[in-house]
């Protein structure tokens, strides 16, 4: 019986039954993987002589055990999903189309969301508002950080005195407020609102409370422009401007590349007319009239200086010269007079391709500017009335009336949304007084700022990245908002409050969906609109509008003489970074150096060299290298204002520039409060319209005291170092287009005789090929306007820490990408209207023969086969030798634990040397840290860091290419700076790819302008610059460079 059992065989397949060769192998190799120690096909224990390795293994395991037991493992808080959301793979980013909205501004954006956290924004390229590009401004780039702002209110509050009490539920609030609202005359005070749904909700709400009204109030007023357009064009609206269609651009006090209306869009258009086609080099001519050197002025071909009070006179003269029927007062300043003549001549020659924009807020002046534009044929060509801008709608008279009414006690309730008049209204004191007389005041601000902290209730609104919504940036151009994250705090839509209080129980979210479903017809169209983010016409249309010159005579008479009065005048300007000051609690913006002064974390008075001399300030070496700046007492309208001063060239001798947006209260947040001086109270009024200048500066004196200003660039000239900066006038460039190629050929003749290749002959070290991708970048100095968006984009993408004023002052700022700004062309000629300004984005040049690499004792910085100069942070011991040896000074050292990434506990709270500012501690809050990009290592103290060419993006692109088996995917990869640049100044790509843009630029399209910074050092940078060309008859560049090639050929070589 046993026999029978044993003969019985169970088998699973024929192979097993027949015991084939293949089957035996399969069984043998089923668990083929062995321990990794395997050698010669034998596992560790079978090895020939394990005894020899015994000590090695023993040592290793002992050490490993000791390390495991002895080292404290950091506690990482990570919570797994209970229910994993659909379509979400941890570690894979998702992208949502939404819209940046703030104070009327509308920028359609794409938000990158990693694991539920929005961490980066790019412009939505489907939108005309973005000129179909991904470029954005620094403020948009930085706005993602506002979401995680520790200054935000976390729940609705009721305020009595200085106490803020949390309100338990929205139901309770609604009940309370609804009761108080009954029968009251409500005023809804907001910034410009261009959301169609919100406007409808407001309309319904106001209907519910008879006698109520909606007042729109802009922090920085465009009332003058709106009123003037009403007079001349019959429309209280702002047209769209098309700088790309203008061959002559005249800016009158309008910082259209920095802060005026829609700078992103304008920069992009402007750059289109400034880029050079080397086969036929032409470019637009830009003339700027201003008193304070603005970003726009810095980009201009010609600048003429005037006092702000002379704006009317300048405009009148220009109009008269162009044949306008006005009598113009005489101008004493010869240079200015000549400038107006030249400008008029150019405008006349370029009718139909000319544009004059004016930043004045005086309706009379704007009426005259409209007349000028009419004469030069701008209406319908460069000024387009087809779809007016809806980003600014505030009329100053309405606000003035409101303040009067509030003080008269006739306002029953004030609801404030996105407006902060207690801070930024010229007559804030009266507003505050009036607010106290108003029975009910509710703010929807996200923080207890100047206005909301004196309201009765604050019901915080969501951040735009948490919201549904819509915006109409210009008529007929809609963009949608969708939430990228669930609301972080107990906040509610401002619109929901209005709906509830007008007896409509719908949430705004549903209201919005219903509205758009109705508008678009069906769910499919709605989904598509959400996905696209924008609902816009297929193409841009151009149209003019009926012009009437009826108001011109009246306007001209009101301007009258406009003689310069007072000892000096103040221009109140906005900084490119901080703007009106609403986003002042954003440390990225605060630490972004001002494009002109290169100062961070402060406002100050900018003055001319002449005024500095008058004040006894010696602008010598010592002034340059010391951050203690003189504190000057200005007597403005009888009041003394003490401000530190920075003397810069290109200023009108009698004009003082002070930036608004600073001097925020404590409630604004830890980064904003206590920074700078609030200049809004200086804003004056003319016929009830706010004017951003003051004429009554009766005196100024140097107090002898100093104030520390943290600035990032000390030296303003490039000292004739043409190897760093190359600039030519358009005429010179046309005359001698091959100056740069000749210089480069000569270098090659001298230093690479045999092959013409520096790489092969210029180094002792072996030369490695890079057969795959070789990354390179090209930066067009003609297209770069210096706006600084790239700097902030880089910080957001690469987790670049902020270090605070105290540390910037000690030259410890960490920016991987900076924009060097040079004044001057000739060594000693930097004054006034001879000023040339160069903006040069400077980042790691990824040298193929990098001086930083061979000096690192531990090879922490080394070269990749793709031409990247890379940092192994873990290997870096922090000798800083690489930074010293970097000719471009782009390496940044972590002087302290800015990121909280260090293993030393409690090392951010020291006093004395290197004390951290509050803002740095704020950025180390768990909330703020949510903005960090998980793809990029957060660097610890004591290591060097620098631009990586966004290597995480490159790796990602390569992976995509591999997955899709399509190498051309790599062609789409963009660094963060390139992506953020509105003007397309930065082009990145694979130079081994002959189809790539950067290859074409270097070899055919722009080879006449392409140069490498400090090429004579043979460090072989992977970034090339395109020389700056100026459309001017003034001498540009370094003297005699064109006199003869030999004359300068030895300069700068070894």
């Amino acid at each position: 019986m046993e026999l029978g059992m044993s003969q019985k065989q169970y088998w699973q397949n024929l192979g097993e039954l027949k015991n084939t060769e293949g089957y035996r192998k399969l069984v043998k190799d089923e668990f083929q993987e062995d321990l990794p120690f395997e050698e010669d096909g034998k596992a560790i224990m079978d090895a020939k002589s394990p005894r020899r390795d015994f000590l090695k293994y023993l040592g290793f395991s002992t050490a490993a055990a000791a390390l495991a037991a002895g080292c404290e493992t950091p506690v990482i808080k990570s919570i797994p999903y209970l229910n994993q959301p659909e379509n979400l793979t941890p570690g894979v980013a998702q992208y949502y189309a939404t819209t940046f909205v703030a104070e009327g501004d509308v920028v359609p954006v794409i938000a990158k969301v990693r694991d539920g956290r929005p961490i980066k924004l790019e412009g939505n390229p489907l939108s005309f508002i973005n000129t179909k590009s991904e470029g954005t401004s620094a403020r948009v780039q930085a706005s993602v950080l506002d979401l995680y702002d520790t200054g935000r209110l976390r729940y609705p509050v009721e305020i009595s005195g200085i106490d803020m009490k949390e309100l338990p539920s929205f139901e309770a609030i609604d009940k309370k407020i609804a009761a108080e609202l009954t029968g009251a005359q409500v005023v809804l005070l907001t910034s410009t609102l261009n959301s169609p749904t919100t406007r409808q909700i407001i309309k319904d709400f106001l209907a519910k409370y008879p006698g109520s009204r909606h007042v729109q109030y802009d922090a920085v007023s465009y009332s003058g422009l709106l009123q003037a357009n009403e007079i001349t064009y019959g429309k209280r609206a702002i047209p769209t401007y098309h700088f790309d269609k203008a061959r002559v651009i005249v800016g009158l006090d309008a910082d259209f590349l920095g802060t005026w209306l829609s700078p992103d869009e304008f920069s992009s258009q402007y750059a289109a007319g400034r880029k050079i086609n080397q086969k036929n080099p032409e470019m637009s001519k830009h003339i700027q009239f201003e008193g304070v050197l603005s970003l726009t002025g810095a980009n201009a071909d010609e600048r003429y200086l005037h006092r702000p009070s002379e704006m009317g006179t300048v405009v009148l003269n220009l109009l008269a010269k162009l044949g306008g029927n006005v009598s113009a007062p005489a101008i004493a300043d010869e240079k200015l007079k000549k400038g107006i003549e030249i400008t008029a001549g150019l405008l006349n020659e370029n009718k139909g391709a000319a544009l004059v924009v004016c930043g004045s807020n005086d309706p009379n002046i704007q009426v005259l500017v409209n007349a000028i534009n009419e004469l030069v044929g701008a209406n319908g060509t460069t000024i387009n009335w087809a779809s007016p801008l809806l980003t600014r709608a505030g009329i100053d008279g309405e606000m003035e009336q409101l303040v009067k009414d509030m003080n008269a006690g006739s306002v029953g309730a004030l609801l404030v949304f996105e407006a902060n008049p207690a801070y930024n209204y010229s007559n804030a004191a009266d507003f505050i007084k009036g607010l106290k007389k108003t029975k009910l005041s509710v703010s929807f601000s996200d923080r207890a700022d100047e206005t909301s902290s004196i309201c009765k209730y604050i019901i915080p609104h969501h951040h735009y990245l948490e919201s549904w919504g819509d915006a109409e940036g210009r008529t007929g151009f809609y963009s949608l908002l969708q939430p990228t994250i669930a609301p972080l705090f107990k906040t509610r839509y401002f619109q929901t409050s209005l709906l509830k209080w007008s007896g409509n129980n719908t949430d705004y979210e549903d209201y919005f969906k219903n509205h758009w479903l109705t508008q678009l017809g069906n769910q499919g169209a709605f989904d598509k609109a959400l996905q696209d983010g924008v609902v816009e016409p297929a193409s841009l249309t151009f149209s003019n509008t009926l012009y009437s010159d009826a108001g011109v005579a009246n306007a001209a008479s009101k301007i009258g003489g406009g003689k310069a009065e007072g000892k000096a005048e103040v221009v109140l300007y906005q900084k490119v970074s901080i703007g009106s000051g609403a986003a002042a609690n954003n440390p990225w913006l605060q630490e972004m150096p001002d494009p002109i002064t290169r100062a961070t974390w402060d406002n100050y008075a900018v003055i001319s060299y002449a005024m500095a001399a008058e004040l006894g300030i010696k602008l010598d070496d010592k002034y340059e290298v010391e951050f203690h700046k003189p504190l000057v007492a200005f007597t403005i309208n009888g009041k003394e204002v003490k401000l530190p001063v920075l003397a810069i060239p290109g200023m009108h001798p009698n004009v003082i520039g002070i930036a608004v947006g600073y001097g925020r209260s404590e409630g604004a947040g830890r980064a904003a409060s206590g920074v700078g001086y609030n200049a809004y109270p200086l804003v004056s009024a003319k016929e009830g319209v706010r004017q951003y200048y003051v004429t009554g500066v009766t005196g100024y004196k140097n107090t002898g005291d100093t104030y520390d200003i943290a600035y990032t660039q000390t030296h303003n000239q490039y000292e004739g170092r043409v190897e760093v900066v190359r600039e030519y006038s358009l005429a010179d460039f046309k005359k001698n287009p091959e100056a740069i190629p000749h210089y480069r050929e000569e270098l090659a003749e001298d230093f690479a005789k045999k092959t013409g290749d520096f790489k092969a002959e210029g180094t002792l070290y072996p030369v490695y090929e890079s057969p795959g991708a070789h990354w390179g970048m090209s930066i067009d100095l003609n297209a770069c306007t210096g706006c600084g968006a790239c700097t902030v984009a880089c910080m957001a993408e690469n987790n670049v820490p902020i270090v605070g004023k105290n540390e910037v002052k000690r030259s410890h700022e960490m920016h991987w990408l900076r924009i060097d700004r040079y004044f001057a062309s000739y060594r000693d000629n930097t004054e006034g209207d001879n000023l040339n300004v160069v903006f040069m984005p400077m980042l790691c040049q990824h040298c193929d023969n990098a001086p930083c690499e061979n000096v690192c004792p531990v090879s922490a910085t080394n070269h990749s086969s793709e031409g990247l100069n890379q940092m192994a942070y873990n290997r870096c011991i922090g000798t800083r030798y690489c930074a010293n040896n970097c000719p471009f000074k782009v390496r940044r050292f972590n002087w302290a634990d800015y990121n909280g990434a260090d293993s030393f506990p409690d090392n951010q709270h020291h006093n004395g040397v290197g004390k951290f500012d509050d803002a740095v501690l704020m950025m180390n809050d768990d909330l703020s840290r949510m903005v960090l990009n998980p793809d990029v290592t957060v660097r610890s103290r004591g290591v060097i860091e620098k631009c990586s060419f966004c290597v995480q993006r490159l790796q990602d692109a390569k992976l995509e290419a591999k997955k899709s088996q399509d190498a051309s995917v790599i062609r789409d990869v963009k660094t963060a700076c390139m992506q953020a640049c509105s003007t397309g100044a930065i082009v990145f790509g694979n130079v081994n790819d002959k189809e790539s843009q950067v290859y074409k630029i270097r070899t055919e399209e722009q080879n006449h302008r392409a140069y490498y910074a400090l090429e004579h050092l043979h460090v072989l940078p992977n970034i090339n610059y395109l020389a700056k060309i100026r459309n001017t008859a003034r001498p540009v560049g370094v003297k005699d460079e064109f006199a003869g090639e030999k004359a300068t050929s030895h300069e700068g070589k070894h």
């Binding site: 070496d621 010592k622 340059e624 290298v625 010391e626 951050f627 660039q713 000390t714 030296h715 000292e719 004739g720 170092r721 760093v724 070290y765 540390e807 030259s811 410890h812 900076r818 060097d820 040079y822 400077m842 001086p851 061979n854 000096v855 690192c856 004792p857 531990v858 870096c876 011991i877 922090g878 000798t879 800083r880 030798y881 930074a883 010293n884 040896n885 000719p887 471009f888 000074k889 390496r891 050292f893 972590n894 002087w895 302290a896 634990d897 030393f904 090392n907 020291h910 040397v913 290197g914 103290r941 004591g942 290591v943 060097i944 050092l1017 460090v1019 030895h1050 300069e1051 700068g1052 070894h1054």
Partner: protein, 479 residues
């Protein structure tokens, strides 16, 4: 060894006064065998206090980061590396005296070599602190060592001058220590033999390595000295050459200079001798050793100072000439616009005055033999040499290629100064302890030259001078 028996009468005696072998021993070991003076205690306490401040400064720097120093994005090295080069330079005199002068049989070295060698060791110890603690992550300093590791073939970067420094300085320290200690052994044995307390017997007993003074011992000792001297001699030249490579191999205008190796070596010897002077002048006074460290010694060292100072001055002028003649804009600017002038111009002129102009006064014999003047000059030279390193390091990098990055005014923070003072604390604490527990003058070497170059012996040689050549030969070679 006939020559050691006789020193020409015209040569100055190396040991003054009526000296016997016993007297020499007694004179030198006196301070070791008696209680320290009040002055010694005060000196030691001050040194220890400075040392502790240095320790605290480093504690701050290690805990909160290199941001405790006022360095920045442009000036990445400041006082740290300046001090490093300065201390390393100071060390060089000791090696030169003990190695090169030994090979050249310079008898006068005997009076100062022991202290000079000790100074070398303490100076190298002080110098070594800077490259270590200037690192951002000092706890990973071991990465610079080529050790076998689990990371695959991960080596340090042998192209980096900083790595060369690691080897150069560790070699230098090891050899200097061996040389100094082997020289100490016979004297330690003397102390052991004279020791009265148990502890002293044990301490000096162990430290003397069983030296008995047998001929075999002396013979081996002599050979060892020669071998070590032979090894140390190239080090005198190589160490500072390699230190100079930190700068010379870089691209920074003002650093990138081929003249640096000889220039640095001369500067090192220059500052080293100045430091020896400073220490010796104090030591001979405090320890009453005027008979052993004579005016002759001082004058000899002053001659070295004027020679090396002139070499250094020549190098400065050559640098300027090349900056002009080379027609390189960047180099021209670095030297003529931002070194001679500019915010740090003052430091250049301090350097010039202290290093080039003032040492020229030593051409006057009267000044060479003036103790007070020598002392002042020795301090002046070291101030000058400190500024030389400061000028090279800071004024080169604070304004280099790209003008946008030119630096704010760099001045040290309290902890940067503290670190420097701390190394003074370390140096002098070591020196005070050394001078208390070990003979600051090599007893056996003094005895070695006593009978030829001692004042009282030389006086007896008057007769020899009068002999004819043959008579002289017979007399000196007939034993």
């Amino acid at each position: 060894m006939s020559l050691t028996k006789y020193e020409s009468f015209v040569r100055e005696p190396l040991v003054d006064g009526e000296k016997t072998y016993n007297k020499v021993t007694e004179d030198i070991v006196y301070t070791i065998e008696t209680k320290p003076t009040r002055l010694w205690y005060i000196g030691l306490y001050i040194s220890v206090a400075l040392l502790l401040f240095g320790v605290y400064s480093i504690y701050r720097e290690v805990t909160y980061g290199v941001g405790q120093w006022n360095l920045g994005k442009t000036v990445g090295w400041g006082w740290d590396i300046t001090n490093f080069v300065w201390w390393i330079g100071i060390g060089h005199a000791g090696t030169l005296i003990s190695a090169i002068l030994l090979l050249f049989r310079q008898g006068w070295r005997t009076g100062v070599n022991r202290a000079a060698e000790a100074m070398t060791i303490f100076a190298v110890m002080a110098a070594g602190q800077f490259p270590i603690w200037h690192m951002g992550r000092v706890w990973l300093a071991f990465f610079v060592m080529p050790y076998p590791n689990t990371r695959g073939a991960l080596w340090p970067n042998f192209n980096s001058p900083l790595l060369w420094d690691v080897f150069a300085i560790s070699t230098y320290f090891t050899l200097s220590l061996l040389f100094w200690y082997s020289g100490l052994i016979p004297d330690v044995a003397t102390l052991r033999d004279r020791a009265k307390t148990k502890f002293r017997k044990l301490f000096y007993g162990i430290a003397s390595f069983g030296w008995t003074g047998s001929t075999k011992h002396w013979q081996r000792h002599e050979s060892l000295s020669l071998v070590l001297a032979g090894l140390c001699t190239p080090l005198v030249l190589s160490v500072h050459t390699i230190v100079s490579f930190d700068f010379a191999t870089s691209v920074v205008p003002g650093w990138h200079t081929t003249i640096f190796p000889p220039y640095f070596v001369a500067g090192a010897v220059f500052s080293g001798f100045a430091m020896v002077q400073t220490l010796m002048l104090i030591t001979r006074r405090v320890m009453n050793l005027q008979d052993y460290i004579t005016l002759g010694h001082i004058e000899a060292m002053n001659k070295v100072i004027v020679l090396t100072g002139s070499i250094v001055g020549c190098a400065y002028l050559t640098e300027l000439f090349m900056a002009w003649y080379g027609a390189n804009l960047y180099e021209y600017d670095a030297f003529f616009r931002y070194r001679l002038a500019g915010p740090y111009g003052w430091s250049y002129w301090i350097m010039m005055t202290c290093n080039v102009v003032s040492p020229q006064l030593f051409w006057f014999k009267k000044l060479r033999r003036n103790i007070e003047f020598t002392f002042i000059m020795s301090v002046v030279v070291n101030v000058g040499m400190w500024f030389e390193r400061f000028v090279i390091i800071v004024t080169s990098i604070f304004r280099d290629y790209v003008p946008s990055s030119w630096s704010l005014y760099y001045r040290p923070s309290i902890y940067e100064i503290g670190f420097y003072l701390g190394t003074f604390g370390l140096f002098f604490t070591c020196y005070f302890l050394f001078s208390k527990y070990f003979p600051v003058i090599a007893i056996w070497e003094i005895k070695h030259v006593l009978k030829t170059s001692g004042e009282n012996y030389k006086a007896k040689m008057e007769g020899l001078e009068k002999l004819s050549n043959d008579e002289f030969y017979n007399k000196t070679h007939h034993h």
